[in-house]
């Protein structure tokens, strides 16, 4: 009986295997780039209606975060200040700037400034801002060094895995409540190790972040 398969097919399985290897590598690379944490909104930096500089206000001037974001410790939702908050100072400071004129207009007409939201939590994830702040998680843990940002951008990936990193080991981020809004502060400044301090705070405050699905997806 004649051969069913010609001679060249002898090496075909090997060739297919090698080709499959290349395809597999390409798929793995694609998945790594597009599906994993690297491909999130990290670095998102929208332009705002007024080029408000956190570097100037929170960094150089040294305003406390809570002067403007006044309910972060009380509210589940972290608030963006109304124009009146700006107006408290800017009715006296730099009054002739065209940017400040926008604030004046907003205050007078009662029409709010359309700030663009940078950090978005999806609808299907429950997130309570005050619980995190009151448990000793600093602003810097999630938002980065805002006090050094002329334009605010998303510093952390804020993916689910990123949330779980902290929920599974909160001791890496806990700090005394009076140091929450001090973005430059580290445990070293108090002469302590973060892990050791975090463990103590975790035990003292009975920090037990949920790790089950329903903790956030209610």
């Amino acid at each position: 009986m004649a051969n069913i398969f010609p001679r060249w097919t002898n090496t075909l399985p090997l060739k297919l295997l090698i080709a499959l290897g290349f395809v597999g590598a390409a798929v793995a690379a694609g998945v790594t780039y597009y599906v994993t944490q690297e491909y999130t909104n990290k670095g998102y930096m929208p332009s705002q209606p007024i080029p408000f500089s956190h570097e100037l206000h929170a960094g150089q001037v040294g305003l406390d975060c809570r002067y403007c974001h006044s309910f972060v410790e009380q509210s589940g939702h972290a608030n963006v200040p109304s124009s009146n908050t700006c107006w408290n100072c800017h009715q006296h400071v730099k009054t002739n700037s065209p940017q400040i004129a926008k604030i004046k207009e907003s205050v007078e007409t009662g029409k709010p400034l359309q700030w663009v939201k940078v950090h978005k939590v999806p609808d299907y994830a429950y997130f309570n801002h005050s619980v995190h702040v009151n448990s000793g998680v600093s602003c810097v843990s999630c938002h980065g060094k805002i006090n050094e940002m002329p334009v605010v951008f998303q510093d952390q990936s804020q993916s689910m895995g990123w949330c779980l990193d902290c929920h599974r080991a909160p001791e890496n981020h806990l700090r005394p409540l009076d140091k929450i809004t001090n973005l430059n502060w580290t445990a070293k400044d108090a002469g302590r190790e973060q892990k050791e301090m975090g463990e103590k705070l975790k035990a003292a405050w009975k920090i037990n972040p949920p790790e089950n699905c329903a903790g956030c997806h209610r």
């Binding site: 069913i4 398969f5 689910m160 895995g161 779980l164 990193d165």
Partner: protein, 500 residues
Amino acid sequence: MATAEAHDHPPAGAPSRAKVLLREPLVLNNRNYSWITNKIASVIEEPQPLLWWILIVPSFFLTLIMVGCFTYLISTGVGVWGPNQPAAWGWDITNFVFWIGIGHAGTLISAILYLTRQKWRTAVNRSAEAMTIFAVMCAGLFPALHVGRVWMAWFLAPIPNSNQIWQNFKSPLLWDVFAVSTYFTVSVIFWFLGLVPDLATMRDRTKHPVKRTLYALFALGWRGGNRQWRHYEIAYGLLAALSTPLVLSVHTVVSFDFATSVVPGWHTTIFPPYFVAGAIFGGFAMVLTLMIPVRKIYGLQDLFTMKHIDNMSKIIVLTGTIVGYAYLMELFIAWYSGSLFEFDAFKWRILYGPYTWAYYGMFFCNVIAPQAFWFKKCRENLWVVMAVCMCVNAGMWYERFVIIVTTLTRDFLPGAWDMYHPSWVEIWSFIGTFGFFTMLFLLFLRYLPVIAIGEVKAVLPEADPHFNPKLKERDAVVPAPTYDGDYEHTGGRAAGGAIS
């Protein structure tokens, strides 16, 4: 010669040695090797009978309907099916357990009967394994779609991912994923390995170039040499040993989905053995449902004999009785345990719930109907066998429906009680899987040898190293048994079983 004659044919009155010692032959009418090959290959090579076409066309359209229903579900949401509070599991999980249970006969026949050297399995195992694979394919569709967001179904597999989700290994639902996928994989490999020698036979017989190439591709260069057979036997034995625990484990794990919960009516320790017995029960009924018509239509009565049907009927009455015992024991324990909720769950189930009709239907089909098989007359009448098998097919679906729906619609809180209503999408999804299953089985008949050619030959007397052709000639005088229901069959050499 006189002495030899006296030896072969003892005088009247003396005990007939030949008749006492003879086992019923597994292949009737002294069929030889070439007849077996030609007969089984003819199923593929001859044009298909009209009935095949009458079945394949509607089953193809039902498959399309199934695909349509599933597309509608995926594009719209899982709400197009009926499950909702309080019955979050409905027809979908019922269908899953029903189909997965049917598959168990295939593994039992191919693995356990192989290891216990039950030679009669050879005529049945190929089709039973095919049925297993197709049934598991139908089964897998339901939980995969039940998750709702099908594109998230890969969360079921423990793949490291950026969401850092890790599976809950304490959950029997996850064990189920592993149990079913292992079962499917091993069943496919086992089936394929058994097919290799027969694929080579088909490769060598077929003239069609495309078919020959495909058969050759999957025959993996099989030449039937001694060394190849030796390796084949080792691999087959290993796979049989590997699948043997699966016969017990898969449905045990499926039963854990229910038994490890705290829902009254589900939380019972009898579930694993009860489910396994039920699965084998339903599986054998489905094998007979498929193979009794197949042997008749394709004229395979000499290979798939009344002896096979008799054996499988006995397994059905055994497992059916175990299932009946489990039903009664559930009721007894519901009372004896003193658990108020458990007792109430069963009172709803059998006395005054809205689904008592389903319970009694199930009880009749699964426990009463198979008792017919205690009687030889019933096991030999193919109409009775088919009727009982149809009862069992329906009864096993009802069993899962009773377990799931009657329980969930009468939970702890009367305020949560409700009826369960399947939606039309759900009903057609289920009917569609029957079309899908039938279509796959018909295609299997069309393209693959329905009986393991190589293995059936091994149970012929000729395959015995101590085979003595003279004795065979003598034994052939004793007519092979005939049965009322098997009217095509006539005993002895007159039917054309020449010895080559």
